[in-house]
């Protein structure tokens, strides 16, 4: 039946099936992994509670159906997922969708701003330095190397100390106006942006060494026009294929940045939820990041197809 569909529809179908598989796998992975760990969710939830815990334990087990066999729990879990119900947090006793929804904005704002900054920065540096003289290139790529090699949290601490504590240029903490966003965004963008700049530059330089670059020059094209009109597009493909990884990296990076800058957001929700065995929240976050990854990758694939006609089907 697949055969009859037009290629585009087949491609879509293939992707959709793949996406569902990945989402199912990711959710199951998180669910099963957290059920295998030492310290059941109830123990964690009760903590050092000063209450008669046996009765409470029973109550919690009953409410979250944690006393069912794992297979039954898993089946129920999948059933709920299929209807789009992410369940309720053990720790916060609120619907997971609400918890994630509440904090999504801050994380999205942080990571999207960082994305814009890092892409713009990488494009500008790469275009300005690709194939340039050694000194310029060396200095810039050296700086990038240091940036890539510095843990983001450490960069964040240094930026905080210098720009907030010492110079008092930016607010210290939390989420507020745009000024409170500057340092976290820079912290998140610099390492990834440097990496992207390197990939872009390598791609551009590879393109500049290809025969068509010579041909283009032989038509009287200037070096700058060559970079912008020809080389950049060639560099786009390897750069775009990084985007899935980049999305993951940015989401992971928010954990550190939100911690260092004491910002609200999903990174810290994730940290709390994992350490507290708050399985529904973890599953929700895992699904969210998997979905982001899938969407970003699909988008990246489309972008590659747009950038490189050779990747389109020969039909």
């Amino acid at each position: 039946m697949n055969r009859r569909l037009p290629p585009a529809a087949r491609w879509l179908l293939h992707r959709a099936v793949g996406a569902v598989l990945v989402l199912w796998g990711a959710a199951s992975l998180a669910f099963l992994v957290l059920h295998l760990v030492p310290g059941d969710p109830v123990t964690t939830l009760l903590g050092a509670s000063a209450t008669d815990s046996a009765a409470l334990r029973q109550e919690i087990l009953r409410e979250y159906r944690l006393d069912d066999p794992l297979a039954v729990q898993y089946a129920a879990f999948l059933g709920r997922l299929a209807t789009g119900d992410l369940g309720s947090s053990y720790q916060q006793q609120q619907p997971v969708s609400l918890i994630i929804g509440e904090q999504l904005g801050d994380t999205a704002q942080l990571s999207l701003s960082a994305l814009v900054l890092l892409v713009a920065g990488a494009l500008v540096t790469a275009a300005a330095t690709a194939g340039r003289r050694r000194r310029v290139r060396g200095a810039v790529s050296g700086a990038e190397l240091v940036a890539v090699s510095t843990p983001a949290f450490w960069l964040g601490i240094v930026l905080l100390t210098v720009f907030s504590f010492r110079l008092n240029l930016f607010p210290v903490a939390g989420a507020g106006d745009w000024r409170s966003l500057v340092l976290p965004v820079v912290t998140l963008a610099v390492p990834f942006g440097s990496l992207l700049a390197q990939v872009l530059r390598e791609g551009m330089e590879a393109a500049l060494h290809q025969p068509f670059a010579l041909t283009a020059r032989s038509r009287g094209l200037s070096g700058t026009a060559l970079r912008l009109r020809h080389a950049l597009r060639h560099a786009a493909v390897p750069a775009v294929t990084l985007s899935g990884w980049l999305a993951g990296g940015l989401l992971g990076g928010t954990v550190m940045v939100e911690t260092v800058f004491a910002r609200p957001g999903l990174g810290r929700v994730a940290l709390d939820a994992i350490s507290n065995r708050d399985i529904p929240v973890v599953v929700g976050l895992v699904l969210l990041s998997a979905a982001v990854y899938l969407v970003v990758n699909a988008f990246a694939d489309l972008l590659c197809l747009w950038a490189d006609p050779r990747l389109r089907s020969p039909a």
Binding site: G18, L21, V22, G25, A26, L29, V33, L34, L36, V37, P38, R134, R137, G138, S141, G142, L145, V146, V148, S149, T150, P151, A152, F153, W154, I157, V158, T161, F165, E202, G203, E205, A206, H209, Q210, H234, G244, A247, G248, G249, L251, G252, G253, V255, M256, T259, A270, L271, I274, S275, V282, L285, V286, S289, A290, Y293, L294, R310, L311, P314
Partner: protein, 291 residues
């Protein structure tokens, strides 16, 4: 083998000529090698570089700024920061190397069968890798830590697990390229057994190109390890691990900057060194014709 023997329509991008890149990284390379030699020495025999104990507290000498007796100053407990940085090399660097080695090994164990066995094995393996890839590496590492608990070995394990899908895909891709290579056809044409072909040609030639990503991976793993330590999921105290030292020193940054700055610099410096050497390897290997 059912694909046509014609070349793919897409030209492989050529690499930047060896000369140019050699020239760019030359002084950096020497420095980097020097850094790595010192770091290796610090791993093997930290006592040679720093005779002071990294764990002995001396409350009287707490929070001394860098100076003659304590090159990097002392921390809140009066421990010598220099000694801690030197002794910390072992934990931070071994974590990086160990995590990468494990990640590559498991990547091989998944990627090779995936490329060499049938479609079904490939589908199963790669779908599983997709699932893992879909999660941010840090999230994956945190999940692993949640299962096995925090410790330096487990931090390495967590980082290794989160790096597995990347290596597995790399291995699979490389093995598929190698499998279709002309020299594999030649070996089959000679009448060699399949097992011989796989062990003598496919596996080693798949491994070779992993050297560079693995070297660069060591740097990434060191950073990831320091992040886990920073979040309190690293080795046991009072182990002098750089990420943990950073975490402990960060609150004192305003009054005693040296507690955090030196381990932070150590992380950056060693990752830079590893990366520079890795890139040099890359140039060396890719520059070789026929690769």
């Amino acid at each position: 083998m059912t694909s046509p023997p014609t070349e793919a329509a897409i030209a492989r991008p050529s690499f930047v000529p060896l000369r140019e890149r050699l020239a760019t990284f030359r002084p950096g390379l020497l420095l980097s090698v020097a850094v790595l030699v010192v770091a290796a020495l610090a791993c093997v025999a930290p006592g040679l570089l720093a005779p002071a104990s990294p764990t002995d507290a001396d409350p009287v000498a707490a929070l001394l700024p860098p100076g003659g007796e304590h090159w990097f100053g002392t921390d809140q407990l009066g421990r010598d920061v220099y000694a801690r940085v030197v002794h910390g090399a072992r934990h931070s660097l071994l974590l990086g190397v160990g995590a990468t080695a494990l990640g590559v090994l498991v990547g091989l164990l998944i990627g090779l069968p995936s490329a060499l066995l049938g479609r079904f094995a490939d589908q199963v393996a790669m779908r599983s890798m997709d699932v893992m890839l879909a999660l941010p590496e840090l999230l994956l590492a945190l999940l692993v830590i949640a299962v096995v608990g925090p410790s330096s070995v487990n931090a390495a394990l967590a980082i290794a697990v989160s790096s597995v899908p990347g290596y597995a895909r790399l291995v699979r891709g490389q093995a598929q390229v190698v499998r279709r290579a002309e020299y594999i056809r030649s070996a089959i044409g000679l009448g060699l057994r399949r097992r011989t072909v796989v062990l003598r040609h496919v596996v080693p030639n798949t491994l070779g190109p992993l050297v560079v990503p693995a070297t660069l991976g060591v740097g990434t793993a060191i950073i990831a390890g320091s992040a886990l330590s920073f979040l309190g999921l690293g080795p046991k105290a009072p182990t002098p691990e750089w990420g943990a030292m950073l975490a402990q020193g960060r609150d004192a940054l305003q009054s005693a900057w040296w507690i955090a700055v030196f381990p932070g610099a150590a992380i950056t410096l060693s990752v830079v060194a590893v990366t520079v050497v890795g890139r040099q390897l890359h140039i060396g290997l890719e520059g070789r014709p026929g690769r």
